[in-house]
Amino acid sequence: MTLKSTSRKKAIHVMLCYTGGCNGCDIEVVNALLSPRYDLEQYGVMLTWNPREADVLIVSGVVTWQMLEPLKKIYSLIPEPKAVVAVGACACNGNVYKNLVGDIKVNEDVWAPVENIIPVDVKVPGCAPRPEEIIQGAVKGLPKLMGAP
Protein backbone atom coordinates (compact mmCIF):
# COMPACT_ATOMS: atom_id res chain seq x y z
CA MET A 1 0.00 0.00 0.00
CA THR A 2 1.67 3.16 -1.15
CA LEU A 3 0.71 6.62 0.02
CA LYS A 4 -0.99 7.14 -3.33
CA SER A 5 -3.39 4.22 -3.12
CA THR A 6 -4.01 4.80 0.59
CA SER A 7 -5.00 8.39 -0.02
CA ARG A 8 -7.29 7.33 -2.84
CA LYS A 9 -8.93 4.80 -0.59
CA LYS A 10 -9.35 7.16 2.33
CA ALA A 11 -10.88 10.11 0.50
CA ILE A 12 -13.44 9.69 -2.26
CA HIS A 13 -15.39 12.55 -3.75
CA VAL A 14 -18.60 11.55 -5.45
CA MET A 15 -20.55 13.60 -7.95
CA LEU A 16 -24.11 12.95 -9.01
CA CYS A 17 -25.14 13.53 -12.60
CA TYR A 18 -28.84 12.98 -13.02
CA THR A 19 -29.67 12.57 -16.65
CA GLY A 20 -33.45 12.40 -16.68
CA GLY A 21 -35.56 9.58 -15.41
CA CYS A 22 -38.20 9.32 -12.77
CA ASN A 23 -36.46 11.04 -9.82
CA GLY A 24 -36.59 7.89 -7.73
CA CYS A 25 -32.93 6.82 -7.90
CA ASP A 26 -31.88 10.41 -7.72
CA ILE A 27 -33.68 10.99 -4.44
CA GLU A 28 -32.36 7.68 -3.17
CA VAL A 29 -28.78 8.63 -4.03
CA VAL A 30 -29.01 12.01 -2.36
CA ASN A 31 -30.84 10.38 0.50
CA ALA A 32 -28.23 7.67 0.90
CA LEU A 33 -25.42 10.16 0.75
CA LEU A 34 -27.00 12.76 2.96
CA SER A 35 -29.37 11.22 5.41
CA PRO A 36 -28.15 10.33 8.87
CA ARG A 37 -29.34 6.76 8.55
CA TYR A 38 -27.18 5.74 5.60
CA ASP A 39 -24.44 8.27 6.25
CA LEU A 40 -21.96 7.80 3.43
CA GLU A 41 -19.44 10.22 4.91
CA GLN A 42 -18.50 7.73 7.60
CA TYR A 43 -16.82 5.63 4.93
CA GLY A 44 -14.79 8.59 3.73
CA VAL A 45 -17.05 9.41 0.80
CA MET A 46 -18.03 13.04 0.29
CA LEU A 47 -20.69 14.43 -2.02
CA THR A 48 -19.51 17.23 -4.27
CA TRP A 49 -21.12 19.11 -7.12
CA ASN A 50 -18.00 20.13 -8.90
CA PRO A 51 -16.61 17.80 -11.58
CA ARG A 52 -13.13 19.18 -10.97
CA GLU A 53 -13.21 17.81 -7.45
CA ALA A 54 -14.84 14.46 -8.13
CA ASP A 55 -13.38 10.97 -8.41
CA VAL A 56 -16.52 8.90 -8.85
CA LEU A 57 -19.34 10.00 -11.13
CA ILE A 58 -22.71 8.54 -10.25
CA VAL A 59 -24.99 8.57 -13.26
CA SER A 60 -28.67 7.91 -12.71
CA GLY A 61 -31.51 8.05 -15.13
CA VAL A 62 -32.04 7.33 -18.80
CA VAL A 63 -29.90 9.66 -20.85
CA THR A 64 -32.31 11.95 -22.64
CA TRP A 65 -30.93 13.69 -25.68
CA GLN A 66 -30.76 17.07 -23.96
CA MET A 67 -28.63 15.59 -21.20
CA LEU A 68 -26.35 13.77 -23.62
CA GLU A 69 -23.88 16.60 -24.18
CA PRO A 70 -23.78 17.77 -20.54
CA LEU A 71 -23.03 14.21 -19.44
CA LYS A 72 -20.13 13.86 -21.88
CA LYS A 73 -18.84 17.28 -20.92
CA ILE A 74 -18.95 16.61 -17.22
CA TYR A 75 -17.27 13.26 -17.65
CA SER A 76 -14.49 14.87 -19.66
CA LEU A 77 -13.89 17.49 -16.96
CA ILE A 78 -13.19 15.02 -14.17
CA PRO A 79 -9.43 14.62 -13.82
CA GLU A 80 -7.97 11.12 -14.08
CA PRO A 81 -8.27 8.65 -12.44
CA LYS A 82 -12.04 8.46 -12.38
CA ALA A 83 -14.73 5.82 -12.08
CA VAL A 84 -18.35 5.84 -13.23
CA VAL A 85 -21.17 4.16 -11.35
CA ALA A 86 -24.47 3.66 -13.19
CA VAL A 87 -27.23 3.65 -10.59
CA GLY A 88 -30.63 2.20 -11.34
CA ALA A 89 -32.15 0.10 -14.04
CA CYS A 90 -32.55 3.17 -16.24
CA ALA A 91 -28.84 3.85 -16.38
CA CYS A 92 -28.02 0.15 -16.78
CA ASN A 93 -30.36 -0.74 -19.61
CA GLY A 94 -33.12 1.82 -20.03
CA ASN A 95 -35.82 0.20 -17.92
CA VAL A 96 -39.38 0.59 -19.16
CA TYR A 97 -38.58 3.77 -21.06
CA LYS A 98 -36.33 2.00 -23.52
CA ASN A 99 -39.25 -0.25 -24.47
CA LEU A 100 -36.92 -3.24 -24.56
CA VAL A 101 -39.55 -5.93 -24.87
CA GLY A 102 -41.99 -3.60 -26.60
CA ASP A 103 -44.05 -4.54 -29.55
CA ILE A 104 -43.18 -1.60 -31.73
CA LYS A 105 -39.52 -0.72 -31.48
CA VAL A 106 -36.90 0.72 -29.16
CA ASN A 107 -37.62 4.19 -27.84
CA GLU A 108 -35.54 6.70 -29.76
CA ASP A 109 -35.77 9.48 -27.20
CA VAL A 110 -33.65 7.55 -24.78
CA TRP A 111 -29.90 6.94 -25.17
CA ALA A 112 -30.27 4.51 -22.40
CA PRO A 113 -27.36 2.34 -21.39
CA VAL A 114 -24.86 4.85 -20.08
CA GLU A 115 -22.20 2.44 -21.34
CA ASN A 116 -22.95 3.60 -24.87
CA ILE A 117 -21.85 7.13 -24.00
CA ILE A 118 -19.17 6.94 -21.36
CA PRO A 119 -17.29 3.91 -19.97
CA VAL A 120 -19.06 2.48 -16.93
CA ASP A 121 -17.21 0.62 -14.19
CA VAL A 122 -19.92 -0.37 -11.74
CA LYS A 123 -23.58 -1.04 -12.36
CA VAL A 124 -26.16 -0.96 -9.61
CA PRO A 125 -29.39 -2.44 -10.97
CA GLY A 126 -32.81 -2.10 -9.39
CA CYS A 127 -35.83 0.13 -9.72
CA ALA A 128 -35.06 1.85 -7.45
CA PRO A 129 -31.94 0.28 -5.91
CA ARG A 130 -31.78 0.21 -2.14
CA PRO A 131 -29.47 2.72 -0.45
CA GLU A 132 -27.26 -0.11 0.78
CA GLU A 133 -26.69 -1.21 -2.79
CA ILE A 134 -25.85 2.31 -3.90
CA ILE A 135 -23.28 2.63 -1.10
CA GLN A 136 -21.80 -0.70 -2.15
CA GLY A 137 -21.65 0.47 -5.75
CA ALA A 138 -19.99 3.76 -4.88
CA VAL A 139 -17.30 1.91 -2.95
CA LYS A 140 -16.85 -0.79 -5.62
CA GLY A 141 -15.22 1.70 -7.96
CA LEU A 142 -12.29 1.84 -5.53
CA PRO A 143 -9.99 -0.86 -6.96
CA LYS A 144 -9.90 0.94 -10.26
CA LEU A 145 -9.05 4.24 -8.61
CA MET A 146 -6.42 2.70 -6.35
CA GLY A 147 -4.74 0.75 -9.12
CA ALA A 148 -4.52 3.68 -11.51
CA PRO A 149 -1.06 5.16 -12.08
Binding site: Y18, I27, T64, Q66, M67
Partner: protein, 393 residues
Protein backbone atom coordinates in the same frame (compact mmCIF):
# COMPACT_ATOMS: atom_id res chain seq x y z
CA UNK B 1 -38.11 41.85 -29.71
CA UNK B 2 -37.47 44.95 -27.63
CA UNK B 3 -40.71 45.14 -25.74
CA UNK B 4 -39.35 47.28 -22.98
CA UNK B 5 -42.69 48.83 -22.22
CA UNK B 6 -42.35 47.90 -18.57
CA UNK B 7 -39.02 49.76 -18.52
CA UNK B 8 -36.98 47.08 -16.87
CA UNK B 9 -33.26 47.55 -17.03
CA UNK B 10 -31.54 44.22 -17.27
CA UNK B 11 -27.86 44.10 -16.67
CA UNK B 12 -27.02 40.48 -17.24
CA UNK B 13 -28.26 36.93 -17.39
CA UNK B 14 -27.31 34.16 -15.02
CA UNK B 15 -28.11 30.58 -15.88
CA UNK B 16 -28.07 27.56 -13.62
CA UNK B 17 -28.41 23.91 -14.34
CA UNK B 18 -29.07 21.24 -15.45
CA UNK B 19 -26.33 19.76 -13.25
CA UNK B 20 -26.45 21.87 -10.14
CA UNK B 21 -26.68 21.27 -6.39
CA UNK B 22 -29.84 23.31 -5.88
CA UNK B 23 -31.73 21.80 -8.79
CA UNK B 24 -31.01 18.13 -8.58
CA UNK B 25 -33.46 17.40 -11.34
CA UNK B 26 -32.38 18.39 -14.83
CA UNK B 27 -33.80 21.78 -15.65
CA UNK B 28 -32.34 25.13 -16.36
CA UNK B 29 -33.12 28.41 -14.69
CA UNK B 30 -32.29 31.59 -16.55
CA UNK B 31 -32.39 34.61 -14.30
CA UNK B 32 -32.31 38.08 -15.78
CA UNK B 33 -30.79 40.14 -13.05
CA UNK B 34 -29.97 43.71 -12.34
CA UNK B 35 -27.11 43.65 -9.85
CA UNK B 36 -28.57 41.19 -7.32
CA UNK B 37 -32.26 41.72 -8.06
CA UNK B 38 -34.09 39.29 -10.30
CA UNK B 39 -36.04 41.16 -12.96
CA UNK B 40 -37.29 38.18 -14.91
CA UNK B 41 -37.01 34.45 -14.80
CA UNK B 42 -37.32 31.72 -17.36
CA UNK B 43 -37.36 28.05 -16.55
CA UNK B 44 -36.34 25.71 -19.33
CA UNK B 45 -37.76 22.29 -18.80
CA UNK B 46 -37.89 19.29 -21.10
CA UNK B 47 -34.52 17.88 -20.13
CA UNK B 48 -36.16 14.72 -18.82
CA UNK B 49 -38.32 14.05 -21.87
CA UNK B 50 -38.65 10.31 -22.31
CA UNK B 51 -41.64 10.02 -24.64
CA UNK B 52 -43.98 8.46 -22.16
CA UNK B 53 -47.14 9.24 -24.12
CA UNK B 54 -45.70 7.49 -27.14
CA UNK B 55 -44.69 4.50 -25.08
CA UNK B 56 -48.17 4.23 -23.64
CA UNK B 57 -49.92 4.33 -26.98
CA UNK B 58 -51.20 0.95 -28.06
CA UNK B 59 -50.20 -1.21 -25.14
CA UNK B 60 -52.58 -3.29 -23.04
CA UNK B 61 -54.09 -1.32 -20.22
CA UNK B 62 -52.65 -3.56 -17.49
CA UNK B 63 -49.18 -3.02 -18.85
CA UNK B 64 -49.67 0.73 -18.91
CA UNK B 65 -49.72 0.73 -15.13
CA UNK B 66 -46.02 -0.19 -14.98
CA UNK B 67 -45.07 2.82 -17.07
CA UNK B 68 -47.45 5.30 -15.47
CA UNK B 69 -46.04 4.46 -12.08
CA UNK B 70 -42.63 5.44 -13.38
CA UNK B 71 -43.67 8.87 -14.59
CA UNK B 72 -42.34 10.19 -11.32
CA UNK B 73 -40.34 8.63 -8.53
CA UNK B 74 -41.56 10.87 -5.76
CA UNK B 75 -45.26 10.65 -6.50
CA UNK B 76 -45.24 7.18 -8.03
CA UNK B 77 -48.35 5.99 -6.23
CA UNK B 78 -50.61 8.85 -7.25
CA UNK B 79 -49.78 8.36 -10.94
CA UNK B 80 -50.52 4.66 -10.75
CA UNK B 81 -53.70 5.27 -8.78
CA UNK B 82 -54.98 8.00 -11.05
CA UNK B 83 -54.34 5.94 -14.16
CA UNK B 84 -56.47 3.10 -12.81
CA UNK B 85 -59.12 5.57 -11.71
CA UNK B 86 -59.55 6.51 -15.36
CA UNK B 87 -60.54 3.02 -16.46
CA UNK B 88 -62.49 2.35 -13.29
CA UNK B 89 -64.54 5.47 -13.98
CA UNK B 90 -64.85 4.80 -17.70
CA UNK B 91 -65.89 1.17 -17.52
CA UNK B 92 -67.67 1.40 -14.17
CA UNK B 93 -65.49 -1.10 -12.37
CA UNK B 94 -66.50 -1.55 -8.78
CA UNK B 95 -63.62 -1.09 -6.34
CA UNK B 96 -63.91 -2.82 -2.97
CA UNK B 97 -64.05 -0.49 0.00
CA UNK B 98 -60.99 -2.04 1.65
CA UNK B 99 -58.91 -1.48 -1.49
CA UNK B 100 -59.85 2.20 -1.51
CA UNK B 101 -58.77 2.56 2.09
CA UNK B 102 -55.36 1.05 1.36
CA UNK B 103 -54.92 3.22 -1.70
CA UNK B 104 -55.59 6.31 0.37
CA UNK B 105 -53.22 5.00 3.01
CA UNK B 106 -50.39 4.66 0.52
CA UNK B 107 -51.24 8.07 -0.88
CA UNK B 108 -50.93 9.69 2.52
CA UNK B 109 -47.69 7.84 3.28
CA UNK B 110 -46.22 9.17 0.10
CA UNK B 111 -47.61 12.62 0.74
CA UNK B 112 -45.69 12.71 3.99
CA UNK B 113 -42.46 11.48 2.41
CA UNK B 114 -42.87 13.93 -0.45
CA UNK B 115 -43.41 16.86 1.90
CA UNK B 116 -40.39 15.80 3.93
CA UNK B 117 -38.30 15.70 0.78
CA UNK B 118 -39.54 19.21 0.23
CA UNK B 119 -38.32 20.25 3.68
CA UNK B 120 -35.00 18.54 3.12
CA UNK B 121 -34.56 20.23 -0.20
CA UNK B 122 -35.83 23.64 0.85
CA UNK B 123 -33.57 23.77 3.88
CA UNK B 124 -30.63 22.72 1.80
CA UNK B 125 -31.39 25.62 -0.50
CA UNK B 126 -31.66 27.94 2.50
CA UNK B 127 -28.28 26.55 3.51
CA UNK B 128 -29.34 25.02 6.81
CA UNK B 129 -27.86 21.57 6.56
CA UNK B 130 -28.91 20.40 10.01
CA UNK B 131 -32.63 20.96 9.45
CA UNK B 132 -32.34 19.28 6.07
CA UNK B 133 -30.71 16.22 7.64
CA UNK B 134 -33.38 16.07 10.32
CA UNK B 135 -36.06 16.09 7.62
CA UNK B 136 -34.40 13.21 5.83
CA UNK B 137 -34.08 11.32 9.10
CA UNK B 138 -37.79 11.78 9.84
CA UNK B 139 -38.64 10.68 6.34
CA UNK B 140 -36.91 7.33 6.75
CA UNK B 141 -39.66 6.11 9.10
CA UNK B 142 -42.27 6.48 6.41
CA UNK B 143 -40.01 5.02 3.75
CA UNK B 144 -39.86 1.95 5.98
CA UNK B 145 -43.64 1.83 6.20
CA UNK B 146 -43.92 2.09 2.41
CA UNK B 147 -41.46 -0.76 2.12
CA UNK B 148 -43.44 -2.92 4.54
CA UNK B 149 -46.64 -2.17 2.67
CA UNK B 150 -45.57 -2.37 -0.97
CA UNK B 151 -42.20 -4.07 -0.93
CA UNK B 152 -40.20 -1.21 -2.44
CA UNK B 153 -39.20 2.11 -0.99
CA UNK B 154 -39.81 4.16 -4.12
CA UNK B 155 -42.22 2.15 -6.28
CA UNK B 156 -44.70 0.48 -3.93
CA UNK B 157 -46.91 -0.62 -6.88
CA UNK B 158 -50.00 -0.85 -4.73
CA UNK B 159 -52.96 -0.22 -7.07
CA UNK B 160 -54.07 -2.43 -9.92
CA UNK B 161 -57.24 -2.15 -11.93
CA UNK B 162 -60.14 -3.13 -9.72
CA UNK B 163 -58.38 -2.90 -6.39
CA UNK B 164 -54.92 -3.33 -4.98
CA UNK B 165 -52.31 -6.04 -5.23
CA UNK B 166 -53.14 -8.70 -2.66
CA UNK B 167 -49.60 -8.59 -1.25
CA UNK B 168 -50.17 -4.98 -0.20
CA UNK B 169 -53.04 -5.95 2.06
CA UNK B 170 -52.97 -4.51 5.55
CA UNK B 171 -52.22 -7.12 8.20
CA UNK B 172 -52.85 -6.77 11.94
CA UNK B 173 -49.14 -6.55 12.74
CA UNK B 174 -48.63 -3.86 10.13
CA UNK B 175 -51.51 -1.87 11.60
CA UNK B 176 -49.80 -1.89 14.96
CA UNK B 177 -46.47 -0.87 13.41
CA UNK B 178 -48.12 1.99 11.56
CA UNK B 179 -49.77 3.33 14.69
CA UNK B 180 -46.52 3.06 16.67
CA UNK B 181 -44.52 4.80 13.99
CA UNK B 182 -47.12 7.54 13.65
CA UNK B 183 -47.03 8.25 17.37
CA UNK B 184 -43.24 8.34 17.44
CA UNK B 185 -43.17 10.47 14.34
CA UNK B 186 -45.73 12.99 15.52
CA UNK B 187 -43.73 14.02 18.59
CA UNK B 188 -40.47 14.39 16.73
CA UNK B 189 -42.18 16.17 13.88
CA UNK B 190 -43.89 18.67 16.17
CA UNK B 191 -40.52 19.45 17.75
CA UNK B 192 -38.97 19.83 14.33
CA UNK B 193 -41.58 22.26 13.06
CA UNK B 194 -41.44 24.24 16.28
CA UNK B 195 -37.68 24.38 15.96
CA UNK B 196 -37.97 25.73 12.42
CA UNK B 197 -40.53 28.37 13.30
CA UNK B 198 -38.55 29.51 16.34
CA UNK B 199 -35.30 29.94 14.47
CA UNK B 200 -34.91 33.69 13.78
CA UNK B 201 -32.22 33.16 11.15
CA UNK B 202 -34.32 30.77 9.09
CA UNK B 203 -37.43 32.90 9.44
CA UNK B 204 -35.52 35.98 8.30
CA UNK B 205 -34.58 34.08 5.18
CA UNK B 206 -38.04 32.78 4.26
CA UNK B 207 -40.37 35.48 5.53
CA UNK B 208 -41.78 37.95 3.05
CA UNK B 209 -40.08 36.77 -0.13
CA UNK B 210 -41.52 35.14 -3.22
CA UNK B 211 -44.83 36.93 -3.13
CA UNK B 212 -47.64 35.25 -5.07
CA UNK B 213 -50.95 36.96 -4.52
CA UNK B 214 -54.26 35.14 -4.65
CA UNK B 215 -55.17 36.76 -7.97
CA UNK B 216 -51.88 35.63 -9.48
CA UNK B 217 -52.25 32.17 -8.03
CA UNK B 218 -55.65 31.79 -9.68
CA UNK B 219 -54.46 33.41 -12.89
CA UNK B 220 -51.49 31.03 -13.26
CA UNK B 221 -53.47 28.15 -11.75
CA UNK B 222 -50.99 27.44 -9.00
CA UNK B 223 -52.43 24.25 -7.61
CA UNK B 224 -51.72 22.31 -4.49
CA UNK B 225 -50.01 23.77 -1.44
CA UNK B 226 -48.52 26.52 -3.59
CA UNK B 227 -51.98 27.85 -4.36
CA UNK B 228 -53.38 27.12 -0.92
CA UNK B 229 -50.59 29.14 0.70
CA UNK B 230 -51.80 32.08 -1.35
CA UNK B 231 -55.25 31.86 0.15
CA UNK B 232 -56.89 29.92 -2.67
CA UNK B 233 -59.13 27.23 -1.26
CA UNK B 234 -58.69 24.51 -3.84
CA UNK B 235 -58.15 20.92 -2.82
CA UNK B 236 -59.57 18.09 -4.89
CA UNK B 237 -59.51 15.78 -1.90
CA UNK B 238 -62.65 17.52 -0.67
CA UNK B 239 -64.55 16.31 -3.74
CA UNK B 240 -63.04 12.87 -4.22
CA UNK B 241 -65.25 9.92 -3.31
CA UNK B 242 -62.28 8.03 -1.93
CA UNK B 243 -61.78 10.67 0.73
CA UNK B 244 -65.46 10.88 1.75
CA UNK B 245 -65.14 8.63 4.83
CA UNK B 246 -62.34 10.62 6.38
CA UNK B 247 -62.39 13.74 8.43
CA UNK B 248 -59.59 16.18 7.71
CA UNK B 249 -59.03 19.89 7.25
CA UNK B 250 -57.85 21.69 4.16
CA UNK B 251 -54.99 23.97 5.12
CA UNK B 252 -55.40 27.41 3.61
CA UNK B 253 -53.05 30.21 4.57
CA UNK B 254 -53.05 33.73 3.24
CA UNK B 255 -49.47 34.86 3.75
CA UNK B 256 -48.69 34.37 0.04
CA UNK B 257 -44.93 34.10 0.70
CA UNK B 258 -42.30 31.40 0.96
CA UNK B 259 -42.78 31.00 4.67
CA UNK B 260 -46.44 30.14 4.21
CA UNK B 261 -45.66 27.66 1.49
CA UNK B 262 -43.38 25.89 3.95
CA UNK B 263 -45.87 26.13 6.82
CA UNK B 264 -48.74 24.94 4.63
CA UNK B 265 -46.92 21.73 3.83
CA UNK B 266 -45.87 21.33 7.44
CA UNK B 267 -49.50 21.45 8.54
CA UNK B 268 -50.64 19.13 5.76
CA UNK B 269 -48.40 16.41 7.13
CA UNK B 270 -50.35 16.56 10.37
CA UNK B 271 -53.63 16.21 8.46
CA UNK B 272 -52.19 13.20 6.64
CA UNK B 273 -51.34 11.60 9.95
CA UNK B 274 -54.96 12.14 10.99
CA UNK B 275 -56.18 10.35 7.87
CA UNK B 276 -53.75 7.48 8.40
CA UNK B 277 -55.00 6.95 11.95
CA UNK B 278 -58.63 6.93 10.77
CA UNK B 279 -57.82 4.40 8.05
CA UNK B 280 -56.08 2.02 10.42
CA UNK B 281 -58.93 2.29 12.91
CA UNK B 282 -61.89 2.03 10.52
CA UNK B 283 -60.66 -0.20 7.72
CA UNK B 284 -63.47 -2.59 6.71
CA UNK B 285 -62.92 -6.30 6.15
CA UNK B 286 -63.50 -7.82 2.75
CA UNK B 287 -61.83 -8.52 -0.57
CA UNK B 288 -59.16 -6.18 -1.82
CA UNK B 289 -59.49 -6.71 -5.55
CA UNK B 290 -62.33 -7.05 -8.01
CA UNK B 291 -61.30 -9.19 -10.96
CA UNK B 292 -64.66 -9.13 -12.74
CA UNK B 293 -63.90 -6.76 -15.55
CA UNK B 294 -62.88 -6.94 -19.20
CA UNK B 295 -61.13 -4.25 -21.15
CA UNK B 296 -63.45 -3.09 -23.89
CA UNK B 297 -63.92 0.00 -25.96
CA UNK B 298 -63.96 3.09 -23.74
CA UNK B 299 -64.47 6.72 -24.71
CA UNK B 300 -61.95 9.26 -23.50
CA UNK B 301 -62.25 9.50 -19.77
CA UNK B 302 -60.53 11.89 -17.43
CA UNK B 303 -59.65 11.45 -13.82
CA UNK B 304 -58.52 14.22 -11.53
CA UNK B 305 -56.71 13.64 -8.32
CA UNK B 306 -55.00 15.72 -5.70
CA UNK B 307 -51.38 14.72 -5.85
CA UNK B 308 -48.81 16.03 -3.40
CA UNK B 309 -48.00 19.05 -5.48
CA UNK B 310 -51.47 19.85 -6.74
CA UNK B 311 -54.02 18.77 -9.26
CA UNK B 312 -53.15 15.79 -11.44
CA UNK B 313 -55.02 14.81 -14.58
CA UNK B 314 -54.83 11.55 -16.48
CA UNK B 315 -56.91 10.86 -19.54
CA UNK B 316 -57.05 8.13 -22.12
CA UNK B 317 -59.39 5.99 -24.13
CA UNK B 318 -59.42 2.30 -24.98
CA UNK B 319 -59.91 1.00 -28.49
CA UNK B 320 -61.94 -2.10 -29.40
CA UNK B 321 -59.05 -4.42 -28.48
CA UNK B 322 -58.66 -2.85 -25.08
CA UNK B 323 -55.45 -1.02 -25.95
CA UNK B 324 -54.61 2.40 -24.55
CA UNK B 325 -55.06 5.27 -26.98
CA UNK B 326 -54.01 8.90 -26.69
CA UNK B 327 -52.74 8.96 -23.15
CA UNK B 328 -52.44 12.44 -21.70
CA UNK B 329 -51.02 13.50 -18.38
CA UNK B 330 -51.08 16.94 -16.86
CA UNK B 331 -49.05 17.18 -13.71
CA UNK B 332 -49.33 19.97 -11.14
CA UNK B 333 -45.87 21.38 -11.77
CA UNK B 334 -46.72 22.37 -15.32
CA UNK B 335 -49.17 24.95 -14.03
CA UNK B 336 -47.06 25.85 -11.01
CA UNK B 337 -44.14 26.71 -13.30
CA UNK B 338 -45.67 29.99 -14.40
CA UNK B 339 -46.40 30.85 -10.80
CA UNK B 340 -42.77 30.17 -9.87
CA UNK B 341 -41.46 32.33 -12.65
CA UNK B 342 -43.74 35.11 -11.51
CA UNK B 343 -43.11 34.72 -7.78
CA UNK B 344 -39.35 35.07 -7.86
CA UNK B 345 -39.31 38.45 -9.60
CA UNK B 346 -38.00 41.21 -7.38
CA UNK B 347 -35.97 39.11 -4.98
CA UNK B 348 -32.27 38.44 -4.68
CA UNK B 349 -30.70 35.71 -6.79
CA UNK B 350 -30.23 33.34 -3.85
CA UNK B 351 -33.82 33.89 -2.78
CA UNK B 352 -35.18 33.36 -6.28
CA UNK B 353 -33.87 29.82 -6.27
CA UNK B 354 -35.39 29.34 -2.83
CA UNK B 355 -38.72 30.60 -4.13
CA UNK B 356 -38.61 28.17 -7.01
CA UNK B 357 -37.73 25.35 -4.61
CA UNK B 358 -40.53 26.40 -2.27
CA UNK B 359 -43.11 25.75 -5.00
CA UNK B 360 -41.80 22.17 -4.94
CA UNK B 361 -41.12 21.62 -8.63
CA UNK B 362 -41.04 18.08 -9.94
CA UNK B 363 -39.78 18.54 -13.43
CA UNK B 364 -39.54 14.91 -14.38
CA UNK B 365 -43.27 14.56 -13.88
CA UNK B 366 -44.12 17.57 -15.89
CA UNK B 367 -41.97 16.98 -18.93
CA UNK B 368 -44.57 16.12 -21.48
CA UNK B 369 -44.97 15.83 -25.23
CA UNK B 370 -43.11 18.35 -27.28
CA UNK B 371 -45.05 19.11 -30.44
CA UNK B 372 -47.64 21.83 -30.01
CA UNK B 373 -50.17 22.15 -32.79
CA UNK B 374 -52.15 25.35 -32.76
CA UNK B 375 -54.20 25.89 -35.87
CA UNK B 376 -51.79 25.83 -38.78
CA UNK B 377 -48.62 26.97 -37.06
CA UNK B 378 -46.58 24.15 -35.69
CA UNK B 379 -44.08 24.66 -32.93
CA UNK B 380 -40.80 22.98 -33.61
CA UNK B 381 -39.55 20.40 -31.19
CA UNK B 382 -36.32 21.06 -29.35
CA UNK B 383 -34.63 18.41 -31.40
CA UNK B 384 -35.52 20.11 -34.65
CA UNK B 385 -34.41 23.49 -33.34
CA UNK B 386 -31.01 22.15 -32.38
CA UNK B 387 -30.63 20.27 -35.65
CA UNK B 388 -31.33 23.49 -37.47
CA UNK B 389 -29.50 26.07 -35.39
CA UNK B 390 -26.87 24.11 -33.49
CA UNK B 391 -26.27 24.09 -29.78
CA UNK B 392 -25.52 27.73 -29.30
CA UNK B 393 -27.30 30.66 -30.77
Amino acid sequence: MTETSNEKVIEKELSFGPVHPALIEPYRIRLFVNDEIVEDCEININMAYRGIEKLLDGIPVEKALIITERICGICSHVHAWNSVRVIEGGLGIEVPERANYIRVLTQEFQRITSHLIFFGHAFEVIGHETLSMRAFLLREQFMDLLQYLGGNRVMPSVPIIGGIRPRADLTESLKKTILDRCDAFEDKYANYVQRVLDDPLVISRINGIGLLTKEDAIKYHATGPTGRASGWRYDLRADMNEYKPFDFNIIVLDGCDTKDRVVDRALEVVESLKIIRQIVKNIPEGPVVNRNWVAKEMPFTTAYSESYRGELMHTYGLDHQGLVRNYQVRTPTITNLAAMEHACIGDHVTEAILTIASCDPCLTCCTRAEVVESGKSRTMTDYEIVRKYGWRR
